[in-house]
Symmetry: C2
Subunit: 330 residues, 2 copies
């Protein structure tokens, strides 16, 4: 691989001049320009990004650190991030952690090592203290999942309200025996969605029944398994609210296997509105998160932090929407 000095030697100019040719803004005479570009072509020279970034202390790159690209929920958000990033001259690199803290920390190390100008974190496994410390060094925005009480902006929806609305919808259809398929983890969204479920029940005068609550890991399999359990109860629920579409689909498939009709025998509501939820048969009633916009807003905030040194706002809450489809209403 040739360097800027090789090009300079071949073109009979100094490295500085070559640099000026590469970075078009400066003044270079037409003839030297030609000489230099010729040498660049002949040597097939490409500037070393590491050298350039080191010198400029700027990379024009940002990292998106996320647990799992195979979750379609994230891919839509990433689109929003990428569009806004590209509009602002940044390039995005995705870092898949598989929800593994050790892997996440490797990427965080790169980030702290100036490999990128900033990062967007989704569902980070880091604790609040480490996040707080990170925010001192580097512009970072939390997207969707977030920790509270640290000086780092976050973008999300109102999870409690969304869950409340979903369950309210089921109650409005006449259901009283409404089960809940959630998740036991550190994420705020999990507890907020459960909170919304309980609030809706309470308002309708329905007793909260722990037997109707179970916890999965967002996977198809866990939804499938939990539904099987719920159907074994003597007082079988007539509706189920799931905190993810994938679990809802698992639950529906499970009920189908027991020859139950959806929604006649049991209604199912999901959460997220991944693109698959309308393709599925029966199509899925769910809470639509504005995924693309979540990504856009997060990236907007990040650009702001990178370029102005600080965040405009700490809390961004975007609108969600209940989308009613075949899995709850015939």
């Amino acid at each position: 691989m040739s360097t800027i000095n090789d090009v300079a030697a071949r073109a009979g100019v100094s490295a500085a001049t070559v640099s000026r040719v590469i970075n078009v803004n400066s003044n270079v005479s037409p003839e030297t320009f030609k000489k230099v570009t010729k040498a660049i072509d002949e040597l097939n020279y490409r500037p070393n990004i590491l050298g350039r970034n080191l010198r400029k202390t700027k990379s024009e790159r940002i990292l998106v650190i996320l647990p799992n690209i195979s979750n379609p929920f994230y891919s839509e958000i990433v689109k929003g991030i990428e569009d806004v990033a590209n509009q602002n001259g940044y390039y995005v690199m995705l870092c898949n952690t598989d929800s593994d803290l050790a892997r996440e920390e490797k990427y965080i190390k790169m980030l702290k090592g100036q490999l990128a100008d900033g990062a967007i974190l989704m569902a980070s496994e880091m604790n609040s203290d480490d996040l707080a410390e990170l925010s001192k060094d580097i512009p970072v925005v939390q997207c969707c999942e977030y920790k509270e009480g640290i000086p780092m902006p976050h973008v999300s929806i109102d999870n409690e309200l969304a869950a409340y609305k979903a369950v309210k919808h089921l109650i409005g259809l006449g259901h009283e025996k409404i089960a809940f398929i959630g998740a036991k983890n550190q994420f705020l969204s999990s507890s907020l969605r459960k909170k919304g479920y309980i609030r809706a029940l309470g308002e309708a005068g329905i007793n909260f029944d722990p037997d109707y609550c179970d916890y999965g890991d967002y996977s198809y399999k866990s939804g499938f398994r939990i539904m099987k359990q719920l159907l074994k109860l003597s007082q079988r629920p007539t509706a189920v609210f799931c905190i993810s579409d994938i679990m809802a689909i698992g639950a529906i498939r499970s009920a189908m296997e027991e020859k139950l009709q959806i929604p006649e025998d049991i209604a199912v509501c999901g959460f997220d509105n991944i693109y698959f939820s309308k393709m599925f048969k029966p199509s899925l009633t769910t809470i639509s998160q504005p995924m693309y916009d979540l990504g856009c807003v997060a990236m907007d905030a990040l650009v702001n932090m990178i370029e102005n040194g600080k965040a405009e706002t700490m809390h961004y809450f975007l609108e969600h929407e209940l989308v009613i489809r075949e899995s709850t209403v015939k």
Copy 2:
């Protein structure tokens, strides 16, 4: 952000000594070690990756350049890549091109600029000449989609044979009016799969009928739309072979909308075996690509190129499998 010199000053040692502490292999006296780690903690020092990589001309990173993370087909491959990469001490960064050549070229620039030690390309939009030239500079492996006749290894399945087997399966079920939903693009897999379709028909003495062939863009929508057209034909097909699961699912939904039974009225076969194909109702008959293994083998080959300077083999073909489910057999 503090540098190695800040740490050195604070600890009262030279930068070289700090470097030795960070890079554990060298010999440092216990007391200086303690002094230095103390200074590192106090200053919250993190080594600058750019400086380090520049000096070492090695990044221990690889790039995966792919068109679209929202395609579940790729996410499984990425898992394989990541596992092998991590085992070998490499970190993976994903670069989403959205099938946009300009965006892909930006990432290729980073690659040529030594931001990473190598790359895996999936469904590249670059032409053969550019790929050939790239292969001179940097270790690169093509995965799944590939261009032939260039000195760059590729990993894939035998697409022609796979399609042949899928269509053979439909013929074996008694179908004679078998439609084809493919894609018109530069990718070898598209033409090879069509070739396999035609070969299977030919062997069974079935005439190839251009009216039974249409082309989508791998999307749900295109599968949906094309199926609608096929169902309008006076001689309606009784089976359809689609070159992607997503299009197959679109096609099935389309047929369902016309009150047709799957597979009784029309059988549908997909390609890829994305995780969703078994969740779908009816579950999808499809060609299972060994996605995880494809990723592993590609990364293995890349590690080899990076560390030994050259590829062991140019062509890796992995086994595929016909998975028969509800969409073709009751």
